[in-house]
Symmetry: C2
Subunit: 326 residues, 2 copies
Amino acid sequence: MNGKLRTVHVGLGPIGRKILKAGVSAGICEPVACADIAPEIAGVSIRSVFDEQQLPDVMVCGDLQEALEQADEVGADLAVVCTGSRLEAIEPQLTSVLERGLCCISTCEELIFPWLRAATVADRLDEVAVRNEVALTGAGVNPGFVLDLLPFVLTRVCERTQSVSAGRYVDATRRRQQLQAKIGTGMEPDDFRELASQGKIGHVGLAESAALLADSLGWPWDEFEETIDPVIAEESISSEYFTVAAGQVRGQHQRLTMGKVQLELIMALGEEERDEIRVEGVPPVHAIIHGGIHGDTATSGAVINFMWPLVNAEPGLRTVTEIPLG
Amino acid sequence: MNGKLRTVHVGLGPIGRKILKAGVSAGICEPVACADIAPEIAGVSIRSVFDEQQLPDVMVCGDLQEALEQADEVGADLAVVCTGSRLEAIEPQLTSVLERGLCCISTCEELIFPWLRAATVADRLDEVAVRNEVALTGAGVNPGFVLDLLPFVLTRVCERTQSVSAGRYVDATRRRQQLQAKIGTGMEPDDFRELASQGKIGHVGLAESAALLADSLGWPWDEFEETIDPVIAEESISSEYFTVAAGQVRGQHQRLTMGKVQLELIMALGEEERDEIRVEGVPPVHAIIHGGIHGDTATSGAVINFMWPLVNAEPGLRTVTEIPLG
């Protein structure tokens, strides 16, 4: 078993906190510095933030540079960055981390395959990582596992792979309020379509998953079509946070086609949870994960499990399919 | 996409032939030498052996050293060795291949995790591979994928993994006659038990799968219990090659427990085909591959898909969990 990594935690929202807790519990992380912009936790020890006296007594810095200086003083191996979905927005943070000689793992959805929508930023980050002899990757469950890494792994037994389709079906009643709101729960269908047409609704990362999968299979990833439709409640349904009348929106149905890759994501109240992957190939492979893989917990799991492999990986900007898992 | 590897094919039994054909079809292999001990194909071009005029005109050598000299002359990257299940028996072949500076991939079941039953041989092979700056691995579908690599990959989303159980259920009517015979088809239950108690029946590799999985998870793998029981036909059942009366054996049921890893393998006429993996963890993961992953074809698929990753891997004796997949 590997020992502990000295970790810097950047962004202590719900996912950032889960990763810190899970990483410490698993004996993978020893937090040595933390940064978050929320004023209510700046200057507060993570022991108080998490109400766990067994955590190391590390103060949350309101400023990233301050946290990185602190990490520099005590020595650190890796930073976890959970501050945003768009790569361009978090590039300065990633650059700062890499320039301190820290490996970096992030839940930023675009970082799962950054050449798709932020190629220039990706090239810059790769250059910074290589120069500082550290590795950088995006990790998570979706994108990062269910619709990209796992389907790719399943194709590894095929003499030939003709096409891959994968779907994720999430019962949003079991998820955070923020996610339920984000998928349009309780909206009128026309309002949903209006927001979707403005790009204001929809899961970030489906195209990144498709591109990572296609690229790993040696297929082109430069063109794709994506649709987002409301899932309409046939009868009234409610969650802890929302009540949806029949005819209103209970969630979203997103579909993406990129050549021989087809992905589908339904996140809706009352949806039957499962993940499903079909490889058309020789031999064909049809896998179902019954009950699905729980989103937030699995993201945190993926991030902590990729930490050691990342530290041992080739320097540069890497995808999760390129990193040895074991 | 990667280009072609110049390959040496050692062992042209059913699996060795499938690998050669699939590797050429996929554009991964360019055979430059072949060796097999069967006198009827020694000195014959693989064009005739396979009855495929589009294959390169490579003559099958009856002697491995002769094939390796031929490979040396034209230059080669990698050898595929499909000559046996026991590592000790094929060590001289692997050593010869590695000493010529060729990477080596083999379907030898014990090589999936050779430290379990042939640790001294494994250490010697690792030393030879490192000294010659090439990598060596065992690959296949079982062992090598369904009950080891794939369960390990599924645990990569778990914050904590408490235990893993995995089962493979194979309908032997769909497999080669040799496999149907090997699993005791048509025997009387007592004869089966007698052979099983002498170690003359049973799939090689279940313990290797468990050890690879356990080791990849940082769990001990030095102790295990294994049982092999006959699967008794409740009514008569037949295949292309066998007719089994009610009360006779239609196949084998093998179970293995290694600490927190439990594996099960049923290979029997009329068994419902599937592979099933359960990870008890946070989150739990329950995956079923409906219809299973076809054995021979998937072994050939796994071997050809691991060729390029192996050539790019760190020198030495590697497991499939340590090699970057993409």
